[in-house]
């Protein structure tokens, strides 16, 4: 009778989940009941077997270093910049901030949205490069890469001819921003990789980008510096282009120009 009462509790017993009162009573029962004691033994053995068998996979040192490096880099980029800004501009910045908040809160909100888009893109750039498979279509030929996107994203775009430039196309993949599909292309310049993201301009909320909705090509944005990456964006034929990379602003600018002239 006592065995029936305890049988459903044996898993909780071996998992250390019984409350102290039950634990004491069951302990006493086990000392006198070989049937339940054997059951417990079997459960403990099974638990140990799974424990041993489950510790199976170890990441490569290279992958561990890559993750540790990327975490450290992202953390270092955020607070340090904020801290130095505050130490230099603390008092005047605060007064300007309060004034501008009162007058231009709306503009501020759009700029926050823009910053969020930038840091999201920086994350997409980093995770793609850190991935074992950074691109899904591997080709240096724009005539292979462009058609690959057909049927995968709801728009089409032109890619520039790169002959005579320092840039090489590595390939592309489909990416998502704000639940909307877009194209992610990776270019190489010397030893660096630069990401080009293309989304429909209407993906972005009104006024996130001031030039939103421009029919013709808008002038490129002033290069921005986000999490130690340089970035430039513009709109052209209803599409929003972003160029992101750890190269200097002049390289970002050169690639942006090639893309803008491809139309």
């Amino acid at each position: 009778m006592a065995c029936e009462q305890w049988r459903g509790q044996l898993d909780a017993y071996v998992d250390g989940e019984l409350d102290p009162a039950d634990l004491r009573v069951l302990g006493e029962h086990l000392r006198g009941c070989s049937g339940c004691a054997v059951d417990v033994l079997e459960r403990v053995q099974m638990k140990r077997s799974v424990q041993t068998a489950g510790k199976l996979y170890t990441a490569s040192a290279e992958f561990r270093n890559r993750i540790a490096g990327s975490v450290a880099k992202q953390i270092a980029a955020k607070p340090r910049r904020a801290a130095s800004l505050w130490t230099v501009l603390a008092v005047p910045a605060l007064s300007v901030l309060i004034l501008s908040m009162a007058v231009n809160w709306y503009v501020g909100r759009e700029s926050t949205r823009r910053q969020r888009v930038y840091s999201e893109l920086a994350d997409l750039h980093v995770s793609a490069l850190a991935s074992a498979v950074p691109v899904d279509v591997v080709s240096t030929d724009r005539h292979t890469v462009k058609p690959w996107f057909q049927g995968k994203i709801p728009f089409s775009f032109n890619l520039p001819e790169l002959q005579g430039t320092e840039f090489t196309l590595r390939g592309g993949r489909v990416t998502y921003l704000a639940q909307t599909p877009g194209a992610h292309l990776i270019y190489q310049v010397r030893k660096h990789e630069v990401s080009v993201f293309i989304f429909q301009d209407r993906t972005f909320q009104d006024r996130t980008f001031e030039d939103r909705g421009d029919e013709t090509a808008s002038p490129p944005s002033v290069p921005v510096h986000v999490l130690s990456f340089n970035m430039e964006n513009w709109t052209q034929n209803g599409l929003r282009y972003f160029v992101v990379g750890d190269v200097g602003p002049e390289d970002i600018d050169a690639l942006s120009k090639l893309l803008r002239d491809a139309h």
Partner: protein, 181 residues
């Protein structure tokens, strides 16, 4: 791993998250059954966790939070969508009467490491993951409930069913082995 109640700074993320790297990778590898996918999953987990760290509630369980991000990312991946099948009888939280140990089940408990690994691989993902969280990660029922976002009663019944499914698989393997001789 309880985090003190004060607001946790971003720099603290590294201190909390990096020691979990090996176990997160092992778990990701068991879920995906593929090295490249596991690496992508771990990478995505760290990126998302770092980005969302300001929303992490200090004082709650950081380990369960990290595992939940990893698991949610897996669920939305192509492999995750394919493999995360619903488990029959999941709604029933009652725990069936346990089977009594026999000399055969005791031998099964001593099955060699490779056989157990193979059986774990053959289990449906919901059973495999709960066994790994309980036995390998040594999570409490409460932590498992937080990680999988299921009630405590479901943790107990799913764990019970997972163990039974594993025992049945090992039984079959051991019977197959004997017939083969």
């Amino acid at each position: 791993m309880k985090v003190p109640e004060e607001r946790v700074s971003a720099a603290r993320f590294e201190e909390l998250a990096m020691p979990l790297f090996d176990q997160l990778y092992n778990f990701a590898r068991w879920l995906t059954q593929d090295t490249a996918e596991a690496e992508d999953l771990v990478q995505e987990t760290y990126t998302k966790a770092l980005r969302g760290f300001s929303s992490f509630q200090a004082g709650t369980n950081f380990r369960a939070w990290m595992y939940r991000i990893l698991r949610n990312s897996f669920l939305s991946s192509r492999t995750g969508l394919k493999t995360m099948v619903a488990i029959d009888g999941e709604a029933d939280e009652s725990i069936l009467p346990a089977e009594t140990a026999t000399p055969e089940t005791i031998l099964i408990g001593q099955a060699d490491r490779e056989t157990v690994q193979q059986a774990l691989e053959d289990l449906p993902v919901p059973y495999r993951e709960i066994l790994l969280l309980c036995e390998v990660e040594e999570m409490s029922y409460q932590e498992i409930a937080e990680t999988l976002a299921i009630p405590l009663g479901t943790v107990m019944s799913r764990l019970f069913r997972a163990r039974k499914a594993l025992r049945d698989l090992l039984c079959k393997k051991s019977a197959g082995g004997r017939h083969g001789v």
